[in-house]
Amino acid sequence: MSRWGMVIDLDKCTGCQECTIACKEENNIPHGSPDEQIKRQDPYWHKVIAASEGEYPTAKTELVPMPCMHCDNPPCAMVCPCKATFKRHDGIVTQNFRRCIGCKYCMVACPYGARAYNYKEQEDLPYNRMDPPLRRDLIGFWPFPHRAHGMVEKCTFCFHRIEKAIMEGKEIGTEVVPACVEACPAHARVFGDLDDPESEVAKLLSNRTSIVLREGMGTRPKVHYLTK
């Protein structure tokens, strides 16, 4: 069974935020005003944070792109009262919007701030991609074309792409990748199967020093970072 994961090279990342924008476009995440962004009411599935350390002459800043970590031991799925957030068989943590009651408990439990609440009714824009018409019998409940306010959303590793690729027999990790990986101009992100020793992610992880964020939380994230 495949176990999807992502490797992000912090050495290559330039902090251009292309991944954030690509994610917004791909998943039709609502846009917000600057004011809403400062108030943190603007939903983002992906963010790039800048962590600085030290004083002026020796200061250094690290840019860290943060999608959902898709933990092997997800605290958000643990606390969801309605089974709306769950871990799939292939390790992707995703959620069923129909079940979400909007209690925001997962936002409290997530140590990575990966979850965003939909604060207002959004314009119902079509997805910005050339999709075949939706066939629910094949793809299940996702993509959810209409989102309502009052629900918590998060990154899905673009699993609609993965499932389509599996149906079409394409290779995942090289031919088909999530939108943020595809958009990265510096090729800092790699997507693939962590359990497959031949995949690029597994090779990178075995060759280079890697870290995960907030390891002490015991969440075992599937997004790994290659250090500088």
């Binding site: 943190r40 605290p75 925001k104 604060y119 918590v152």
Partner: protein, 425 residues
Amino acid sequence: MELNFVSVEGNSKNYKIAAGVLAGLFLLGLICYGISYYKGHYLFGSSNVIPWGMPIVLTIYFIGLSAGSLILSTLVYVFGQEKYKPIGRMAVLLAIALIFGALIGIAIDLGRPENFWRLFMFFYLNNMTSMFAINGILYSGYFIISIAYLGIILSGNKLWMKRWGCLAIGWAAMVHMGTGAIFGFMEAREAWFTPIKPLEFLTAAVTSGVALLIVVLVLTMKFTGRDLRKDMVTSLSRLLTVFICVLTLLIFLDKITHLYAPERAAVMYSLTGQYAWVFWVLQIGLVVVLPLAILFNKKLKTIKWIFIAALSVVVGVFFERFFLVIPQAAFPQQYYPGHIEGVYGAVGRFTFTPVEMLISLGIFTMVGLLFLLGLKFLKALPEKTAEEVAAAAAKAAPPKIEEAVKADASAGTADAPPADNKPAQ
């Protein structure tokens, strides 16, 4: 001592004004809720940093008060403390009104309240590892148990009163410890994460429960023209002193554990940061310093001062909840070592929006309205003694027309046969 209970008549001008004002504010809150449901939660002050706002503050506050006053009512019906008997029924009535307010508060905070039923599909559609689902069992069970408890008390079956009271006290304690666990088990929120939280919540619940009982007791007795027995208030105030001391100890332990551990940034922020005054002035000042200063002072052992101390505890516990839910959640999480720049490292902002405030006021007034209606339609108040009736008559002696009518009305309540009087409609 045989004690009979009556309902208030509910025809006086004061009662009608109070009920009318409460109903009006409740309607206003209802309209605001409709707007927020239609427009979305951006009308609230909460954000992705501070996910929960005033409705959750009110919910845990009300659950605490409710559990506290139910636990106290069992002093009468389980532990046989006869001196508290006059307030036993009122405490249970208050507990029901408050838990109803708390459930409404939860429903209001949900983004998709039409899916509220999904919280109650235990073991079938629910994920039972969630503290919310476990608390769903506790809250709904508590609601049913306390209503049945009131029914048993009103029916006057002594044996079942005792049995059901035992169940109610245990369940009420679990309800509030479960509420504490919602916050205390969240490792991601550093300032909340402590095993003491459930116990701290339970103690705060009982403390605020005693304080609220004193407040409601004094107010109700005063406005319905009944004589207040001082020994009851002073013995309640002694209980209050003990609970405040235990609560102080638990708060101290909670903070010192966090401060001693190397990862202390979040708690340091909450104790010294920009909202620290909420903790030091409104929580510690109102819950601990002011009441203890009054209660330990021998000269201030009057009903008026005890009332002030109790009121200060009731208000202070509200700010304890507020401080827990809003300022303590505001500290940004440490995703990566170092100082995180920009909005993701900034302390969360919470704005008090009019819609949220009016909704909160609406929940408050709904609880008050339920309590008033309960006083009218259930026999919750102790019957007036002959001296009180005489005093009321003496008070009305200068024959002004309205006052005489009022005195007549209240005397009528007291004269009604105690066992089988129907509440006047």
